[in-house]
Subunit: 237 residues, 2 copies
DNA sequence: AGAATAGTGTCTATCAGACATTATTTG
DNA sequence: CAAATAATGTCTGATAGACACTATTCT
């Protein structure tokens, strides 16, 4: 197939977030094929639409999960994926007319080590390092929309839970929020909100404690058991 | 062209809202062509993708505007349109694999008379009348998502402004909010919020008063002049 | 005067931001 | 005990819900 022509008019692109070292990071990959070969881009791929009848092709969510697995090596089940928006400006892709459905995804810090630095990919700190001006296609625009969506929803505990370890201390989850919003909340006020999450039954204490250095050990918490992960949103496929 | 085969793998569908008679209504059209001929559906159409290279086709937003104009007869400029989500479950369309990008739209009550009851279309009250179980394709799902999006954003004055006349009384805009949320807010508490909109410079008094029956006339308000209408969101097309 | 709707004010609970203090561990 | 981080509590201002009264018009 001619690599300069898109194999499908519909694609998916992922804005994959993680929090490490107190920074909100996004996963970018170096494009292996033209156009924009060698430039940083969001992980994405064409959606297999089938052949307009007989072969049924893959669902949008399945395509997003496939891209997630291809680039991270993680099981598709461990992917928290939510649809963002469709981007389809005529002329956004030099290969032809391609509509892309963008998704945002969250990865826990514990899983990052499993990903490693394989292939041509890298985590970029949203605040500083992202080479915004040099992203392929309209990916800068998509990434900005993804960051907006994340920031808009980070107040909801369930989003935050996907960006910290399965069990966490109050300080850890607060640090995650700070990284996303890029501002420090007062620890005491944050704890008060956290207390409400406890009262509402959103979190429960996990066994064990955690302590670093020579200080008082912190209690460990976890989200109260729901079915693990995966928001079932309407845009499922 | 074979009407049983979709002309394009990408479509747009519109969830068009209006408030009349104290009810939140949505515009449905009777499908003229198979499949689902004769059933109620959201207004929508295939997106012209061009020919994958030479002809550039139309932007997603342009397609949504075109559908808006086709079905309402209103100028595309008067369309408040915001992207909702893409729906692309394999098998959602019996004609083949079609991804649809859904938009939600708001129409002021003053414009409703211009639309009339042309063609095969009708306004249905969300609460009661919508024949949910009998909508074509996955339009019930799309409509539900659209209603959710509207309810989630109705607290923001700018959304509410698009569902009332260009100039309105406090009672009128409160009635619109009540219709959308399907619950009555206390008039005095609503007025207090409205006072804050005045203080923030979101609304200003318009000339004239309005009075019905034998009661005290009400002041008339309007949004402070911004460029008329049209949210410029990132998903522009 | 009476009916009807417009507009203003009060009391209270909840929540966010700013800020001080006590508690528990290691060295 | 000193250092370091965990955890709790107080004061204040903004906002939402419940509720009572005054104002202006028409009949």
């Amino acid at each position: 197939m001619d690599p300069a022509v898109s194999p499908s008019p519909v694609a998916v692109d992922l804005v994959v977030f993680a929090v490490t070292d107190g920074d909100l990071k996004v996963l970018l990959v170096r494009r292996q094929a033209p156009p924009f070969r060698g430039t940083w881009a969001l992980p994405g791929d064409a959606v297999d639409l089938g052949d307009m009848g007989r072969r049924s092709g893959e669902d949008l969510r399945a395509a997003a999960q496939r891209v997630f697995r291809t680039h991270t090596g993680l099981a598709r089940d461990s992917a928290w994926l939510q649809q963002l928006l469709a981007f389809g400006r005529s002329g956004r892709d030099p290969r032809g007319r391609v509509i892309t459905v963008a998704w945002w995804s969250l990865i826990r810090p514990e899983l990052l080590s499993l990903i490693g630095t394989r292939n041509q990919m890298e985590w970029f700190s949203i605040g500083e390092e992202v080479p915004w001006m040099r992203l392929a296609l309209d990916h800068a625009e998509i990434l900005a929309a993804g960051a907006d969506a994340l920031r808009a929803r980070v107040e909801q505990p369930d989003v935050l839970f996907e960006l910290v370890p399965q069990s966490f201390t109050v300080a850890e989850i607060q640090a995650a929020e700070s990284a996303i919003l890029d501002r420090t909340t007062d620890a005491r006020n944050f704890r008060r909100r956290f207390q409400r999450w406890i009262d509402a039954g959103l979190v429960e204490q996990a066994p064990g404690k955690r302590h670093l250095g020579r200080s008082r050990p912190a209690k460990v918490w976890r989200p109260t058991c729901r079915v693990p992960g995966h928001p079932e949103d309407r845009s499922a496929g």
